[in-house]
Subunit: 361 residues, 4 copies
């Protein structure tokens, strides 16, 4: 009997989404399934806005950035409808049933894993793929989008070296990563940043200034400081630890607004502590866009075709994870709600320290 599947992309856009849609779709067609896409994430599933995915729609999209299906950050159980936030899970379940779907494939990051688990608990068959430039999804070696963003951020640091060197400046570059520092850490190592500040290692601005000062004294009056969006100072960290849960939540919500402000403050502090000029660059959405890297295309294709195979085999309720060269199904309960942060003694951190990188600690 022909299986029917639906695909949606949810959360921030990420290079490799179209490669993954192609991977799922082509493999599903090869396995004689019928494939539809839902537009704009869970919103389109709720509103039943679909598009047929056949061979023609899946051709020529391997190299495209963004997602041909559109995406949104909306959640099934908290959706803005008629000016109010409502739980639309029942509508979604009804649409799933009326479309005679055998499985819903959700491509997204940490939030999407949680939303998919809720739909699983509501009785749907779901399979998910881990997508995010932040690389912070649990239980998988890596996520597609990360390698591309790593390349973009590294190339940006390469460019900024010119200016830092020519003008004897400190360049502070803000790199995406609210909760996990993988991208700033990776791009910092690859770009030869002199300082890397990540959420997992609270920084003392004086330690950073000392490192920069030491470089200056040794004839290098310029430095690159790679700062993850979510990097926090020791003082901020202690304040959060001390605060009751309610305050923590509030702080987290406020955080997104103030990333750039905090990065600018780092630059200002370093200017006053070192006597060098500092400049700020916020990479922002540049890190999300454009053609995926070769590695991300391969990863997205592997995970996508594996998802189709799992559905073919009737294996639902899982995220398709990358484990070395293999793909492994992980039950959603083991993934949802977890964030894969950088262990403070991770081999990348140890290696970066050995080549002289300062982490502000």
């Amino acid at each position: 009997m022909t299986k029917h599947i639906g695909i949606l992309t949810s959360g921030g856009d990420s290079p490799g989404l179209n490669a993954a849609i192609r991977g799922v779709g082509k493999a599903a067609l090869d396995l004689k399934m019928h494939v539809v896409g839902f537009r704009d994430g869970f919103r389109g599933l709720m509103e039943n806005r679909t598009t047929l995915l056949e061979s023609g729609q899946l051709s020529g999209i391997l190299t495209l950035g963004g997602t041909i299906l559109g995406t949104s950050r909306e959640k099934p159980h908290k959706m803005m409808v008629g000016g109010k936030v409502r739980d639309m899970t029942e509508v979604i379940v009804a649409n799933y049933r009326s479309s005679h779907l055998d499985c819903l494939v959700c491509l997204g990051g940490g939030g999407t894993q949680k939303n998919a688990l809720r739909l699983k608990q509501a009785g749907l068959n779901v399979v998910t793929l881990p997508k995010t430039i932040d690389n912070d999804v649990a239980m998988t070696d890596t996520t597609f989008g990360f390698d591309t963003a790593l390349g973009i951020a590294t190339e940006a640091i390469d460019r900024l070296h010119s200016t830092a060197h020519s003008h004897h400046r400190i360049i502070v570059v803000e790199i995406m990563g609210h909760r996990a520092g993988w991208l700033a850490l990776g791009a910092g190592i690859a770009g030869g940043a002199d300082v890397i500040l990540i959420p997992e290692i609270p920084y003392d601005i004086k330690s950073v200034a000392n490192a920069i000062h030491k470089r200056k004294r040794s004839g290098k009056p310029f430095s690159i400081v790679a700062v993850a969006e979510g990097a926090i100072s020791v003082e901020e960290y202690q304040e959060i630890q001390a605060a009751p849960a309610a305050i923590k939540g509030k702080k987290a919500e406020a955080a997104e607004i103030v990333y750039a402000d905090r990065t600018i403050r780092v630059a200002q502090q370093l200017e006053s502590l070192t006597g060098l000029e500092a400049r700020v660059t916020i990479l922002g959405h540049l890190q999300r866009g454009g053609t995926p890297s070769a590695a991300d295309r391969i990863l997205a294709t592997r995970l996508g075709t594996a998802a189709a195979q799992l559905i073919h085999d009737g294996h639902y309720g899982v995220m398709v994870a990358a484990h070395g060269e293999n793909t492994v199904p992980v039950v959603l309960e083991d993934v949802a709600g977890l964030v894969k942060t950088v262990p403070v003694d991770h081999s990348w951190v140890e290696s970066a320290r050995r080549v002289g990188t300062n982490f502000g600690d």
Copy 2:
């Protein structure tokens, strides 16, 4: 008799500076001259900090971003010395004499042309090259650095299309250009921006919102808005026109601080006028750095070798301009103090309008 020449790079760094240094230097050596570089622009000339430029120093730098000589924004007649701003022209003239220079080659933008003219008036032999990513130096077809920055800004817009399209957003991207809109105009055309705002064409935010709204109604709920740093609204423009000169100056000084703020305000206004989400990306120093494009390497090499030839021929007091395939000496008096802005009926503007670009007017 062997001629002695000095080279310095001044103003913001720009891709192609090293290619130009190499061009001047290799051609000068070929013409049996003796070449030194001054470090960090006019500052190094004042402090007599030099480095010998021989074949070895000039090898392998063609592809490097930044400037191997370092640069600064300091001016001969207004230099910070001992905590005070002083006129150091006499010291510079003395250093030039004591180095037995026959000519000083200054690589820089509009400000550098003015400073070079002052030194010419103080009795020095000078030859300049036009360098800036802004392309706003008068009397030359183009400047090296512009083509590279154009490529970087265009690639950025390419990336931002992914996000704009996938999330149904307005993306407002700020591109360098205080006084002239060449870079935003060029990258806007090349990147297929839907709206381009440049200093030369004051914008009415309602016209912009209408254009975006019209796209939305025709099924394209996403738009890219390319904004030059110096873009101004009709209201701001009228205020500046009405204000006495003193206020104009003050505004100009304040301008650099508020570019990002203004770009953010454009995004906020468009959000409220169109009902679409807007996001801002500030490209900043990314546009200055990294390997020069092929076209910029060729241009810098051509201008550099032509400068050496002019010096060899005893032809001083000029900027080496690009006129089509040829290089032409232009006396500094005809260049200094002028800014090459975009004519409002320039062929690029006309062409962009024909493919549907809105300029906010």
Copy 3:
């Protein structure tokens, strides 16, 4: 009255073709024309295979390599039909008439200009755009495709420097250009090639070997040799000069087959003359493909929109040429049959010599 136009792309594919189709098409729609595309060059015109070009077809193609219309190298008056080469001009004229066209826009290189002139002489209204990575179309400053190919070939040389340097080798890199050496010359200058061989300057292999030997003696046992496809030795040149016309033609036909062979022979000769290892890289079709550069997108857009304006004004029988910042109509009779080769005293050549490049003469 609504004008009807047809567009076709002919000859080798070249980056910027889609940008030009978009430029012509969007401007024509803006000028209230009706636009169709013919598939696969003059072949599709002869077979009347068309596609409607409306706003939707023209969106999102600015950055695409290749041509959405397809292309072929066939000529109206020598077309393979039913196994025979036939003159299909009358069929083409008939199709033009039956489609009620007011003008045919032909995007192509030197051959296309000749074919367009033939159709003009057969009574059709034609307007052409100059497209080729070779930059050898007469009467225009440049052609779209050239800047992109220049960037690709330069990046290739940048990469080959690594290997040349690490292995102490001669790397001989073949760059496109049968009749004109613009691409090899430009990429050679931009890539810092030590030797540049172009059709316009017949080379003496011993002179090349001497230059490489001199580098070796000065501690640089590696060299990059950029060779245009059509580069010829002094001996070959003399043979061609001496031969009667018939032989010349035959040689020309045979040429395409033996480019790679000749490049390989250059490498072998240099190995035996210098005692260094030599390796060959043939860039081939890589130089034609992929996303056009920013400069090519702007150029193609400018020329395309200008073509639509000329048609609107009833100005036919011309190629739209780039003259500085302007676009200028040039009557086809002044273009067809000419090849823009590199003058041996061109400013690029002079500049390259000054920085030490050997041309084999």
Copy 4:
């Protein structure tokens, strides 16, 4: 007591070598060791040509292609000296002793692992890193250079799609890989090649032609065929299997010469079997050169710093392998002489088949 180490790079150059030299060197300096580099691989070790590696030499090389130390393919036990091939192991051991080295670090591919083992057996302390764009070193997840080459080859395929599509052609692209097909496989998947031919899966040219024919019938008269250098037809495979060992060896030696010829023959066979035009592109040394990718820089840094730590701990005779996020020492006896080929049921192969790729079997 201060340890003394020597570093050399051997075999074909590969992106990331300088990043690895920097990683070993900076970490070794941090661990208070004394570091020298030997020039041009084992040749320089034999001739005792060294260069001191201190902080200054290790700065700014992270992004450079090639190797600052130079490389060669010579082997300690078969070195060309005075016109004869001689075993120079004793001289090498003597140089190692007279330099008072505690360890020799060899950066190279499969051949280098074998040579390092020989020196280990001759009594030297050695540590190796796995470097090659071919990814065929045993006992490590991956090798540095591979990811960069993968990106270059993929970008090449992206470009070739333009031409294939616009001209309705078969494009046959030869990708490096004598013995293992990792690079052609990876780039083929990432570039969306329609056919991938690798040494591990002997191909039947008729199967390939059928796949291309099927595409043509479904309206896609163009195909990309990615061919590894060492790809062989079923007929060749059977011949090799049947031949005695002596012939196998001879064939292997002859192989390098005929790669391009074989790739050209594939194109010719496909032309005659499908009736479509075919064109060949040989990527060649382009795949080895230029700036390493972000992933390769991180990998090379991790392996390099781990090597220094092992030496610090007195752990010799091993290759530093990448196992997931960790680095693991593997005794050279377990690595030398092995080739990591692509298992015919590898997850990449399975995934590629699912999206419709033909492997010629």
